[in-house]
């Protein structure tokens, strides 16, 4: 809209205009830049992280306790509801926005960044397949942090083979009674609600159903806690369901849609979320390595001037650039509602590449820092431990390879 005496534009139009580039002969050029709004989202997350998260990392490492107040703070900042539709109080900014936020937080604390991504994973099935009643009951609380969600699929029988699960749900009247034990559940203690998949039929064919369960329901129990090498401050362990009574209305989607519920969430968001945390670890490793290399003096000069150190820093740099390209593209594809057959290999590629790169980047940072790389006062050793926590979640490297191979063999690129 033209304003008399001046050019007035709505911010949304400015953002579209600013993100366009002049056409080159033969067609539009590809734009690799974040939009002004995405830059603002990144900035919001960066300021939050530097002011509120960074001062708490040492405590999280020492006590392993979950910083529950920071989840509330993430609610006030709008991060918890980044993928909740606006009619339920969220901002519905999509996967790429969520990825940018988690990357910034994970640059300092991949434990908290992963906590945020798992919370999103816990409610995404509701957004995708939940009834209006379930959405209205839970999503507003997911935005504020009154509900913190997780996703309970993995069992001792193996996360890579979810159909071998033994958690069962039996219908009694208008309720379902769930019995079983889920393991390696992130935020098993911090979360007070979860998306749980249980077997609802064995014969003639196995059938699985997704339920949304909250802690007020009888029989929902937090089980043993795992003692992990990394992600300190992010609890992980068992969730037990002991004659847990869940209303019929808490079924997600429909009876028998459990695998779709689980993998709709994990396949679209869970793997992207782990990629996001991995990007943060790579960036944090680069920052730590560059700072150390500029300050550490050997042979009368900063070690940043030594070629051997420069080559290691170059490798971390290229791991960051390539991981971002793959991950941002995968998130963009999700936001374009790309069909699963097209999407799956890209998300798997993003998850595999970014998480493996995080391990390599963190190891390089430790090498650059020498003895200081393995002492707790410096962040490199924490990145190394946390990187090794990221790679297995939401599907192992082998599963990602299978998905990519199937896609490639079917002609996808």
């Amino acid at each position: 809209m033209l304003f008399l005496g001046g050019r007035r534009e709505a911010v949304s139009d400015i953002q579209i205009r600013s993100s366009k580039r002049p056409e080159i002969e033969g067609g539009e050029s590809m734009n690799f830049e974040l939009t002004p709004e995405q830059e603002l989202i990144k900035k919001a997350a960066r300021e939050f992280t530097d002011e509120l998260v960074a001062p708490r990392v040492e405590q999280m490492e020492a006590t392993h306790e979950s910083p529950k107040d920071l989840y509330k703070a993430m609610g006030e900042a709008g991060f918890l509801g980044v993928m909740v539709p606006e009619e339920y109080g969220g901002s519905n900014l999509g996967s790429l926005a969520a990825m940018l936020i988690i990357e910034e937080i994970s640059r300092v604390s991949s434990a908290l960044g992963t906590g945020l991504q798992v919370h999103i994973l816990g409610y995404v099935p509701l957004v995708q397949m939940g009834s209006e009643e379930l959405k209205r009951k839970y999503l507003p609380g997911m935005v504020t942090g009154d509900y913190i969600a997780t996703c309970a699929v993995t069992e001792a029988s193996g996360g890579s083979d979810p159909t071998s699960m033994s958690t069962v749900a039996v219908k009694q009247g208008d309720e379902w009674v769930i019995n079983g034990r889920k393991c390696f559940i992130t935020m098993n203690d911090t979360a007070n609600a979860c998306c749980v998949v249980a077997k609802t039929k064995d014969e003639p064919k196995k059938e699985f159903t997704g339920f949304f369960v909250d802690k007020t329901m009888d029989g929902y129990r937090t089980g043993r806690m795992e003692h992990k090498i990394g992600f300190h401050g992010l609890d992980n362990g068992d969730l037990a369901f002991v004659n847990c009574r869940v209303p019929e209305s808490n079924i997600i989607g429909a009876q028998g849609k459990g695998i779709a519920v689980a993998f709709g969430g994990i396949g679209r968001w869970g793997r992207l979320g782990m990629s996001s945390a991995a990007l943060g670890v790579i960036k944090g490793s680069l920052d730590a390595a560059v700072k150390f290399a500029n300050e550490r003096i050997l042979y009368g000069k900063p070690i940043a001037e030594l070629q051997a150190i420069q080559f290691k820093i170059a490798e971390i740099f290229y791991l960051l650039q390539t991981s971002r390209l793959v991950a941002y593209k995968a998130a963009w594809l999700v936001d374009q509602n790309t069909p699963d057959a097209e999407l799956g290999p890209h998300v798997a590629c993003s998850k595999l590449f970014a998480t493996q790169s995080a391990i390599r980047a963190a190891n390089l940072a430790v090498e650059i820092m020498g003895g200081y790389g393995v002492v707790a006062e410096y962040s490199a050793e924490r990145f190394m431990r946390d990187a090794n926590m990221i790679w297995a979640a939401a599907g192992t490297a082998d599963i990602m390879n299978i998905i990519m191979a199937r896609g490639a063999l079917a002609g996808k690129e």
Partner: protein, 262 residues
């Protein structure tokens, strides 16, 4: 109480967190800004936070900035924080302006809107540090002004309560609107951007005015309209030396006496 119309003047400055990478161009005597990200001047953020708090429950906060076109992203951030509208005063003719030339442009932008009850500025900018623009705006508009306020609140429909600190005393003032106030960092803690603010900013507007839109006299703006010119701009060299002495108290005392030439 009646809603207030508040204007806030905002300047994009090089990110203070990267101040150790700032360099001075010896030829032009200006800061080399290429490659350094620009942020909202920190004290202007305090001013904006004060405005948003004062307008709570009604009123309007308008942000004004004399800056290049790239400042649109900075102004979007002010909208995401809670400002209602933003005005970017941008023209090549404004380049090189000193504080008075800048104040003239800001006043021209402010005067194009309905009158404001209050104009807030940061006490000084991170890069220039002159602390002149706020008072200059007040003089050009014929308004009273108070500088370096560290407490500010609404007293009644027409008055604000403010506090300033001189070297030895704190002065509490009751000031009548309209006026210009510049603020210190200790006034408040500026809010962080929330995602809700980012979404709300989509519907807000940034109006861009050039020199012709503002009707400013070319002789009064930019380098040509600046009564002050930068003579030199340099980082003073530091040649401090530190000597570490060791010894008994008597030895150290003897050495100190000798060093002092006593």
């Amino acid at each position: 109480m009646r809603p207030l119309r508040i204007a806030v003047c905002v300047k994009p400055v090089p990110d203070p967190k990267q101040s150790n990478t700032l360099k001075i161009d010896p030829a032009t005597k200006t800061l080399v800004r290429t490659g350094i990200p620009l942020v909202i001047n920190p004290l202007d953020k305090n001013a904006l936070e004060a405005a948003i708090k004062l307008k709570a429950g009604g009123g309007t906060v308008s942000v004004f900035s004399m800056a290049p076109p790239t400042a649109e992203s900075t102004l979007t951030e002010t909208l995401a924080m809670g400002a209602d509208e933003a005005f970017l005063l941008s023209d090549r003719a404004f380049a090189g302006g000193d504080t008075l030339a800048t104040a003239r442009v800001l006043v021209a932008g402010i005067q194009k809107q309905d009158p404001y009850d209050l104009i807030l500025c940061g006490a000084e900018s991170f890069d220039g540090g002159t602390a002149q623009v706020g008072p200059q705006i007040a003089v050009l508009l014929g308004l009273p002004w108070v500088t370096r306020v560290f407490q500010l609140s609404r007293s009644n429909d027409e008055q604000l309560a403010a506090a300033i600190e001189d070297e030895h005393v704190i002065r509490e003032l009751l000031v009548e609107m309209p006026l210009v106030i510049t603020v210190e960092a200790s006034l408040n803690q500026p809010r962080r951007i929330s995602l809700m603010g980012v979404v709300a900013a989509r519907k807000k507007t940034i109006t861009v005015y050039n020199a012709a839109d503002l009707g400013v006299d070319p002789a009064e703006v930019g380098l040509g309209g600046s009564p002050t010119q930068t003579w030199d701009y340099f980082s003073p060299s530091s040649d401090k030396k530190v000597e570490m002495w060791q010894g008994s108290s008597q030895e150290l005392a003897r050495e100190l006496i000798q060093k002092l030439g006593l």
